[in-house]
Each structure stands twice: as C-alpha cells, then as structure tokens.
C-alpha cells in the first residue's frame, strides 16, 4: 500500500501511535474499523484503557492466537477478539446506552471528509448504486464525549479530506474534535481547523496546500522554532 502522499509524514502505524499518546489513562474508548483499530497497539506504558466494541463487549482484548478464537467472540469489524480481566458482555440496547448516554470518553473513527466546523462524513459515498450501510457510526458521533478522526490527509486521488463543507452524506453535525493525518494533528475549533502539530519533515504550507479549507497556525510558538 504505497501511496505517493505517504512519501512524507507519518505512516499508518505512526498516526495510530500519535493518537494513542493523546488518550488519557483510564479512558473508556471505542475504536472504529480500519486504521483506528491500530491505535490499541500503541498505548503508552503505564496507562490502562478499556476498549468497548458496540456489538456488546467492554474490556476487549487483542486478536486470539491461531486456533484459540471463538466465532461468537468478535468485534464490530466482525473479527475475532479476546477479553481482558474485568470484561463484560451486554445486549445491543445496553451497548448503545453506553454510547448515546455519554458514558464513553472517546471514539476514534475513520473519515471520508471532515469539514472545518467538525461535520463528519464517513458512511456513504452516496452513489445511486452504492449499498448504504451505517452501522453504529451515527450513534457514536451523537453520544461519545470526544471524537478523534484518524485518516490520510488526502484521498488516493489527492483530493483533500479536510474541507470547508462535506459533499458526501453526513454522519453527524459538528462532532469532530481532532483529526490525525499522515501530515499533521489538527484541532477543530470555533474558528476552524487549527494546526496542533506537524509530522516530521512537513511544513505548514504543504499541509495548507493539501487542505480544502483555511488552516490556522499552531496557537503557541513551539520551543524548537
């Protein structure tokens, strides 16, 4: 999976590691399907995070060893997982009470587009022949306290994913707090996209050029500039 846009900036693993640094100890976290799943591998030493999977498990552990899995112990991506000590199972209505009721601290999701006011599009391209499928994404963005998006900065065709307003069908309005891309960490603020951190070797102009909306510079000067 070599993409031209990946010749600079963070790899997928480095992006996931960067997200993990920002998750406080003791958080209850839901990880979406795809790159978000990688975040679980990079929890900094000394922190305990509890993972929730919306199909009905709190205290999700990593994939099972070959031959030790149970087809009825899976995550939201329908892949086999394990449980950690202290785990619990529950039915769908309880699982979404955790989500919608504001009991989860953080959700990390993928994106098709994020707008400068925090709107998220991540469930449908909206084409007439597409089979629409939403799963739990709209519930997660409606109810979880913080929403982090992890995504490549641009599409495979080079189109910006951070835009003034989304053109794809929305998942939720004004829901995204932060975006972690291969090029930068960007906060969604009342003033719009604000740069938090640049990936090594990436400058502001490069990120601005590949962003479909105005990017505000880092709020405070960093010590090494």
């Amino acid at each position: 999976m070599t993409e031209t846009q990946n010749s600079i900036g963070w790899s997928r693993e480095e992006m996931a590691g960067r997200v993990a640094q920002d998750i406080p100890d003791g958080s209850y976290v839901n990880l979406g399907i795809g790159i978000p799943e990688l975040v679980a591998r990079f929890v900094p030493e000394g922190r305990e995070l509890i993972y929730h999977t919306e199909n009905g498990l709190l205290g999700m552990g990593p994939s099972p060893k070959p031959g030790e899995g149970d087809p009825e112990l899976i995550n939201a991506g329908k892949r086999q997982v394990t449980t950690k000590p202290g785990a619990s199972y529950f039915h769908q209505s309880d699982s979404f009470a955790m989500i919608r009721g504001g009991h989860l601290d953080l959700c990390v999701l993928g994106a098709l587009q994020v707008s400068q006011n925090g709107d998220l599009a991540n469930w449908s391209l909206g084409g007439p022949d597409d089979i629409p499928a939403v799963g739990g994404a709209m519930d997660l963005v409606a109810g979880v306290k913080s929403i982090f998006v992890i995504t490549q900065h641009c599409t495979k065709d080079g189109a910006p994913k951070l835009v003034e307003s989304c053109t794809y069908p929305l998942t939720g309005l004004r829901v995204v707090n932060r975006v972690y891309t291969d090029l930068a960490v960007i906060a969604v603020t009342p003033e719009g996209f604000q740069l938090v951190e640049l990936a090594p070797g990436v400058d502001f102009d490069t990120v601005q050029e590949r962003t479909g909306a105005q990017l505000l510079p880092i709020a405070e000067p960093t010590s090494n500039v």
Partner: protein
C-alpha cells in the same frame, strides 16, 4: 405444566405465515440462528419483512433466505458484507426494499417495541440523510428525532443454554440483539445448544427471562456461518 420445547426446528418455525415480520438475532455470524433460518426456508413462508442487523454472508443462513426470494423488505443497519452479493443484487434489482437504521436506533426501536413504548426521541442521525422525513423536537438546546418502536410477529434467536420454560443464557458477543428481540417478538422461537430443566440455570445469571420466550428447540452443535461460507456451502 409449562413445556415450551419443540421436537425440532421444523416444528419450531411451523407457524410463520406469509407476509410476517420476523426479527432474526445476530451480529455478523455471532448469534445468527442458522438452523432456524434454514428451517424457515424449508417451511416456505414468503413476502417476509426481516429485521436483523446485517444481511448474512455467503449463501447460507440469512443470505440464503434472501436468495430464496422470501424477503420483500429488510430493516437493518449494515447490509454490506465482503463475501456476499445476495443482498446487493436484490437491492439493486428492486426485489428487496431496505430501511436503513443506525445500529443504536435499531436496538432502541426493538427494545421500545418490546417494552410497550410506541416512540422515543434520539439525537442519533440529526442533520444526516437518515433524518429525512422524520419529526424532530428540541430538548435542552439540542435537536432529537422521533423514532418508532418495532415489534415482530416472530423472533428467531440462538441461545447457548435454555431451560424448558425458556429462560436463556447466551454465548459471549452472540448475545447482541437477541434479548431485546425476544421481548419484541409476538412469538419468540429459540434454538439452544444445551437444553436443561428449570432450576439448572442460576436465577442470578439468566439473561432472558422465560416470559419473553414461546418455543425452544434443541440444536446441539449449531453451524458457524464462517465455516459454512469457507467450505462453499449453500442452502438449500
């Protein structure tokens, strides 16, 4: 004497009628009552409205029921699967209608239906295409959508262990929609891998109390959908 057992899956699904609304438990293959679904294919009921989170995989279980042309409408949250074209083909040809519902809204609609609540407000999907045509109302400076409870004529679910009264225990994440669908089904039909006498289940550990269950049939070694699909199985 209460005995809700049925001799086999054929007897368990015998009452399902044409045009019925049927809830089917499962999230992916976890909790999917494949043997009951196959018995429903053999039984022949058609023009069904099926409420289930997904649309099955390969050409077994729920995907096989769809492929057999028995389902006129699906109510679900995630009809796409990597290894099945059954639903996409039916959807694109207009043979099966789709009502797409966010997963948490689907769960709460089912719970509400089973609990005697006709409708409720939820923040999910506000401002999205799935809010189109829905009544909205503002509470405490936030918009919410009105969603309606769902009930069904029949519910088909899988349990790990049942007693003959219909008290149920599930296996791991196979629990998913089954306890709330058991509440929302007029007739709830269970396939259980183990069948025991009343008193053998710890009352503290019963997940679905027997009042929500009508028929129980013993299916000792239920098939796993992923194994059937990997083996290229089809049904019938």
């Amino acid at each position: 004497m209460i005995d809700k057992t049925r001799a086999n899956v054929t007897e368990a699904v015998a009452e399902v009628f044409d045009g019925a609304t049927v809830m089917i438990g499962g999230f992916g293959e976890a909790g999917s009552p494949i043997e009951l679904i196959h018995a429903l294919i053999d039984q022949g009921a058609r023009d069904l409205t099926v409420i289930s989170n997904n649309c099955g995989s390969g050409e077994v279980g729920l995907a096989a029921l769809l492929k057999a042309g028995r389902v006129s409408k699906m109510i679900c949250s995630f009809p796409r699967t990597a290894n099945s074209t059954v639903f996409p083909d039916l959807y694109r040809s207009g043979k099966t209608k789709l009502e797409l519902v966010p997963q948490g809204t689907l769960a709460e609609r089912i719970r509400a239906g089973g609990a005697g609540i006709p409708a409720f407000y939820t923040p999910t999907a506000v401002g999205t295409p799935l809010a189109n045509g829905k009544e909205s109302r503002r509470f405490h400076d936030r918009d919410y959508l009105l969603e309606y409870g769902l009930t069904a004529d029949f519910t088909l679910i899988k349990a790990k262990r049942a007693d003959t009264h219909g008290n149920l225990v599930y296996n791991k994440t196979a629990r998913n929609f089954s306890p709330i669908m058991a509440m929302a089904g007029q007739v709830t039909i269970v396939q259980a891998a183990e069948l025991v006498s009343p008193g053998e289940l710890d009352p503290e550990a019963v997940i679905t109390p027997e009042i929500f269950v009508d028929h129980v049939t013993h299916v000792p070694n239920p098939a796993h959908e992923s194994e059937l699909v990997a083996a290229g199985a089809t049904y019938p």
